[in-house]
């Protein structure tokens, strides 16, 4: 019994962090200073009163759609630093799974335009993070500075949909020269060019 009490506490904390209804931007737990409430959009199975509110105003989308330009401004803003500190956006994310062996990450966090899970991946939980070829500062957080490879989704916790989007946008950025890629060394045989 004694061991289960701290566990319940941590679960309660998680619920408090992720499921706070009033998104005022402040964290309720005191020991996690890095954290702020990241999600602002509706979740599935939210409380009835809120769901009704939403049904009255049908025109508002369930999840806010942010364009890449806004996302780039956000990533460079002091708000971003306040939310994540100097760590990558995936650094403090913890996956929620049963047992010892982590399974592959889920297919997607957003279904039918709304967040469908209790612990959405680091990109899905913050709607102002948009993976785009021009969003270099965000993309660099997912690339190993030593080997230049994209981090595995098992390390970062990205859902498969976002991992694919990440790969595509990194390749686009490399194509446009925004991100540098590793180039092989080309050796020339001068004899080929004589004649």
């Amino acid at each position: 019994m004694a061991a289960s009490i701290p566990m319940i506490n941590t679960i309660m904390k998680r619920i408090l962090i992720l499921g706070s209804k009033h998104n005022t931007g402040q964290c309720r737990t005191t020991n996690l200073t890095w954290c702020r409430t990241l999600m602002q959009s509706q979740r599935r199975y939210q409380e009835e009163s809120e769901a009704q509110e939403n049904s009255e105003e049908d025109l508002t989308p369930k999840r806010k759609i942010v364009d890449p330009e806004t996302s780039i401004r956000y990533v460079h803003s002091p708000e971003f630093v306040k939310g994540y500190g100097d760590k990558p956006v995936w650094f403090h994310y913890r996956r929620n799974f049963k047992g010892k062996i982590p399974p592959p990450t889920r297919e997607n966090c957003i279904r039918q335009g709304e967040i469908a899970t209790a612990s959405p991946c680091p990109i899905c939980r913050d709607e102002y993070l948009v993976l785009d070829a021009k969003n270099i500062k965000l993309l660099e957080q997912f690339i190993c500075p030593h080997s230049g490879e994209i981090f595995d989704s098992m390390k970062t916790g990205l859902c498969q949909t976002q991992q694919k989007a990440l790969t595509v946008s990194v390749m686009r950025a490399q194509d446009q020269g925004l991100l540098e890629m590793k180039l092989p060394f080309r050796t020339y045989d001068y004899e080929d060019y004589k004649s």
Binding site: C144, H146, S147, G148, E149, Q174, D175, Q176, G177, E180, K182, L183, P184, F185, R186, T187, Y188, Y190, D192, Y193, K194
Partner: protein
């Protein structure tokens, strides 16, 4: 011109219809034909080109003396040649060595690294093949799309590989360069080269990268993507060389494989003054002398070359630079000022050394 556009329209369907031909007797004949037609087309295009571009820089570039000068002025900064690079993580290897073994290892590593400074060839842009190999009107309308024939026999180098096109109107011609490169990439893929040209080399992106001073990356990637006589390669590299010359960022390219071609480009276009001033400001008298000698080698008819060959002692750095100053220099005041400053600093250094002794 019209023929090449028809090919592009039907390039997809023709790619599906690639025919592989190995060395049959008929194909040998074809190869013979293609080589003869290249000569014809080259002579046709010469008349269209302006006179000052007629001189081919490549034979001058590969002269052993010029190569030696270029290698010498490139320099060898170990941190720049073999600095930290991105590569897959691996465990470090620890070895216990004596001093002798360590020195041997270091010198062998240096030898290996010299290879990394191999310069990309400096060439003039290649010319399109214009003359068809054969015109067979009786074959006209044999199909709705062009056929591409590629020689995939073993051991043929990319540049020697013959690629020909049978067009819908029955004309047989040597494939345009872009088709040839695409076929090469399909049959003999080279790492780092993409079938579609990266949008990095488009004007807007190139402009941005140059303003960010990422010269080395642009040049490295151009080497991977293009052949050295590709007009795109020449446009990109010249663009970068111009930017480096204007901003005076020669230090970015020193100790890289691109410094030699940069110096050669400047010498070829008779605008070495900026680089010369930079070398003098950095107290590299030997390099400055080599650059002037390179200029004289590239332009053997110039008054500077004649004056240098008449010099009594050719090893004197300052004398050679002064000869250049007196003859072909365009920005005399600046170069003279830097030269005087360098001579003064050398003299004061010599004095302090003497006094300390």
């Amino acid at each position: 011109m019209a023929a090449s556009t028809t090919f592009r329209c039907s390039s997809l369907s023709s790619a599906c219809r690639l025919l592989f031909q190995k060395q049959t007797a008929g194909y040998r004949q074809l190869r013979f034909l293609s080589s003869s037609s290249q000569d014809n087309s080259a002579s046709d295009a010469v008349s269209a080109a302006p006179e000052n571009e007629e001189r081919d820089p490549f034979p001058v570039f590969v002269q052993p003396r010029v190569q030696e000068l270029l290698t010498r002025i490139t320099g060898f900064d170990l941190m720049k040649v073999a600095g930290p690079q991105k590569k897959p993580l691996q465990r470090p290897i620890y070895k216990l060595m004596t001093d002798e073994q360590l020195n041997a290892e270091l010198s062998s590593a240096k030898e290996r690294l010299q290879h990394r400074l191999q310069m990309p060839p400096y060439m003039k842009p290649r010319r399109p093949h214009l003359t068809p190999l054969s015109v067979d009107p009786e074959l006209a309308g044999f199909d709705k799309s062009n056929y591409v024939f590629v020689d995939i026999s073993f051991g043929v180098k990319d540049r020697k590989r013959s690629v020909v096109i049978r067009e819908v109107d029955g004309t047989l011609r040597v494939a345009p360069w872009d088709v040839k490169e695409r076929m090469n990439q399909i049959y003999n893929p080279r790492e780092g080269r993409h079938v579609v040209k990266p949008s990095m080399f488009e004007e807007a992106n190139l402009e941005r990268m140059i303003s960010e001073k990422r010269y080395q990356y642009v040049l490295d990637r151009a080497c991977c993507q293009f052949e050295p006589d590709d007009p795109d390669f020449i446009r990109t590299t010249h663009r970068v060389y111009n930017a480096v010359d204007q901003c005076g960022d020669y230090e970015h390219l020193r100790s890289t494989r691109h410094f030699g071609p940069l110096a050669f480009y400047l010498a070829w276009h008779s605008s070495i003054d900026g680089l010369l001033v930079d070398m003098l400001d950095r107290d590299k008298a030997q390099d400055a002398r080599d650059l002037v000698v390179l200029f004289a080698d590239v332009h053997p008819d110039s008054s500077c070359a004649a004056a240098i060959s008449e010099l009594p002692q050719q090893d004197d750095d300052v004398a050679v630079i002064k000869t250049y100053l007196a003859t072909d220099c365009k920005n005399k005041d600046k170069v003279e000022l830097s030269l005087r400053a360098m001579v003064d600093s050398q003299r004061s250094k010599g004095k302090t050394q003497n006094s300390s002794l």
